[in-house]
């Protein structure tokens, strides 16, 4: 009886998932196909799923010799910013998490709780003064404006600290008996063991940095210095009546995060079990 219910629920679920799946995948497929349609076809060719003629014009127009909306340059800018940011995040977060998890010092737990509480503070209020500070530092229109401010974040420290708390203290202690300093314990004992959560932190940090939209539009106004995500807004303004070009731009912009996801899916999907364990 319950196995029959099982089959029914599996079937209904599958039907539901297929219907939703079609809705979910259509925009991506449609966008991809449109990026290969010629301007001619999009103007006069009527409504077709597949391109009548597959063309690379949209991509070549945007990527080669493009001064007004330099997509390739934007892509490069984003890469520099996101890789640097991710690299720094991993170092700073692991150092801090190690201190809050492993080291004993006065005010450790109060400081940590304070940091967590500040996460509740709405970020919008920071936007304007953050711009002022970045401007005074001379970072406007430079990658630094997008690499450094995000390093103030606390959530990743929380995540890594939780993970570290689950590492038995015996590992530390046996290293300490051998005369290891705190830093040695950090590099030789703890770091290798927290690689999985650091990988999750790296993946999410890269993605967040790559996809950042509002902040870069505030701190960058030089077209050549823009990252690709805010650049797409410029693209929309310039080519509002040319969907082929817009789609090519969008596709190029999502390539890195898409492939990151393709190869590291499990880390994204299982990340929640790292933080959900502390739901309480």
């Amino acid at each position: 009886m319950s196995s029959k219910n099982n089959v029914i629920s599996k079937t209904i679920s599958l039907i539901f998932l297929v219907l939703m799946g079609i809705i979910w995948i259509t925009p991506l497929v449609w966008g991809l196909l449109t990026s290969f349609k010629s301007r001619q076809e999009l103007l006069t060719g009527g409504f077709n799923l597949l391109p009548i003629n597959w063309v690379l014009d949209n991509y070549t127009h945007l990527l080669i010799n493009n001064r007004s909306t330099p997509l390739l340059r934007w892509f490069f800018n984003s890469m520099v910013i996101s890789v640097s940011h991710t690299f720094l995040v991993v170092i700073i977060v692991s150092l801090s998490a190690f201190a809050y998890s492993r080291l004993r010092f006065k005010g450790r737990d109060s400081l940590f709780v304070f940091l967590l509480a500040t996460m509740m503070f709405p970020q919008i209020v920071n936007l304007i003064p953050l711009y002022v500070i970045v401007d005074r530092l001379g970072w406007v229109n430079t990658p630094f404006a997008m690499i450094f401010p995000g390093l103030a974040g606390v959530f990743n420290i929380f995540l890594v600290r939780q993970f570290m708390n689950n590492i038995p203290i015996q590992y530390d202690e046996s290293a300490r008996i051998d005369g290891a300093s705190d830093f040695k314990i950090y590099t030789s004992v703890i770091l290798p063991l927290v690689r999985p959560v650091l990988l999750v932190v790296a993946l999410f940090s890269f993605t967040a940095s790559w996809n950042d939209f509002l902040w870069p539009t505030i701190v960058v106004n030089d077209v050549d210095r823009m990252p690709i995500t805010p650049g797409l807004q410029l693209l929309q303004g310039m080519f509002v009546s040319q969907p082929g070009l817009l789609m090519a731009g969008a596709i190029v912009a999502i390539i890195p995060t898409f492939f990151l996801y393709l190869f590291a899916q499990q880390y994204f999907l299982e990340s929640m079990s790292l933080s959900v364990g502390v739901k309480g």
């Binding site: 219910n5 099982n6 599996k10 209904i12 679920s13 539901f16 998932l17 939703m20 799946g21 991506l28 449609w30 409504f47 700073i92 150092l95 801090s96 809050y100 080291l103 004993r104 010092f105 400081l111 940091l115 500040t118 509740m120 503070f121 709405p122 919008i124 209020v125 920071n126 304007i128 003064p129 953050l130 711009y131 500070i133 401007d135 401010p149 995000g150 390093l151 103030a152 420290i157 300093s181 705190d182 830093f183 996809n211 939209f213 509002l214 539009t217 995500t229 797409l232 807004q233 929309q236 969907p243 817009l246 969008a250 912009a253 995060t257 999907l269 929640m272 079990s273 959900v276 739901k279």
Partner: protein, 306 residues
């Protein structure tokens, strides 16, 4: 003998200092960034709201004037902007948050039955959360294009999706749900995986229907996840900016222009920066978010206090 004891003491006290100082070396990098790029701006931002600053020169303290203007001076454009923006933001939150909870809950439940290809579907529904908002809005604006988009063409409609109401809201909600529900779905999945089969089997023996099992077993077991996602999702949707900016340009007739768009426009738009007003608007928005989160938290945990 004495010298030895003294050297030993000195050695151990310098080691003590070393041991005592090293936590701060681990903490300092983050704390420096935290101070400069979070703490100071937070305080500074509140301060700016009490000035008439234009981001150049020195700020000029004006007390509660900005708040008076945006909250009470009905002749000021900033007042109109504030209330229009706040109302639209509220409408957006009201429309999107329920879908951002219910849809991922249904998806997670369907995935939990573990039908064929469930891993593929899970990946598919999660993918959009990793895509940039500007790319997402570009793609969806083609989908909803009145002349060339699949929606009007396949269903033989003539709707002006992004330039008329209530369709503009429909577009915003649909795109937001598509883009964001992956995160909540994964959270619910993790929660559902933790519910023991025994409960369902006991319910089956008692002859419970699927609906009854859902409301009496599944939902109560997901209380923690539901609380967390409701609060987090509400906060996230209050910060909406990219969708109305690029899909509807705040239109038609500013009917989808959210508060964050006015804040950006006043602080960083063309012409002189009206940072004082913009900051006051930001502080008000921030207060709304905090108050509503608190209310949600208190309301949703009320049963825990009985």
């Amino acid at each position: 003998m004495e010298t030895n004891i003294k050297t030993l003491y000195e050695e151990s006290s310098s080691k003590k200092i070393l041991i005592k100082s090293s936590p701060y070396l681990f903490l300092l990098p983050h704390l420096i960034f935290f101070l400069i790029f979070f703490l100071i701006p937070s305080v500074f931002g509140i301060y700016i709201s009490f000035t008439d600053w234009n981001l150049f020169g020195t700020p000029n303290f004006v007390g509660l004037q900005n708040y008076q203007t945006i909250l009470m001076n009905s002749e000021s454009t900033f007042n109109t902007q504030f209330y229009n923006g706040l109302t639209n933001t509220f409408i957006f939150v009201l429309f999107t948050v329920p879908f951002c909870i219910i849809v991922p809950l249904l998806l997670a439940s369907a995935l939990n039955a573990k039908p064929k290809l469930h891993k593929f579907f899970q990946s598919l529904f999660y993918l959009p959360t990793l895509l940039a908002i500007s790319a997402v809005t570009l793609i969806w604006s083609i989908i909803f294009s009145p002349s060339h988009g699949p929606i009007n063409n396949m269903f033989d409609l003539n709707v002006l999706w992004t330039s008329s109401q209530p369709f503009a809201w429909v577009v915003l909600v649909v795109v937001t749900v598509w883009w964001t529900i992956g995160g909540n779905m994964i959270i619910y999945q993790a929660g559902l995986n933790g519910i023991s089969r025994d409960y369902y089997e006991a319910a089956d023996i008692d002859g419970a229907t699927t609906i009854q099992k859902f409301f009496k077993i599944t939902l109560p077991s997901l209380r923690g996840q539901l609380l967390y996602t409701v609060v987090i999702t509400t906060i996230a949707q209050f910060n909406v900016y990219g969708q109305p900016l690029m899909l509807t340009a705040g239109g038609p007739n500013n009917s989808t222009r959210v508060l964050l768009m006015y804040i950006q426009q006043n602080a960083f738009g063309s012409g002189q920066s009206i940072a004082g007003i913009a900051s006051a608007m930001a502080v008000m928005l921030g207060l709304c978010i905090m108050v509503i989160s608190a209310i949600q938290f208190i309301f949703l945990t009320r049963n825990d206090r009985k």
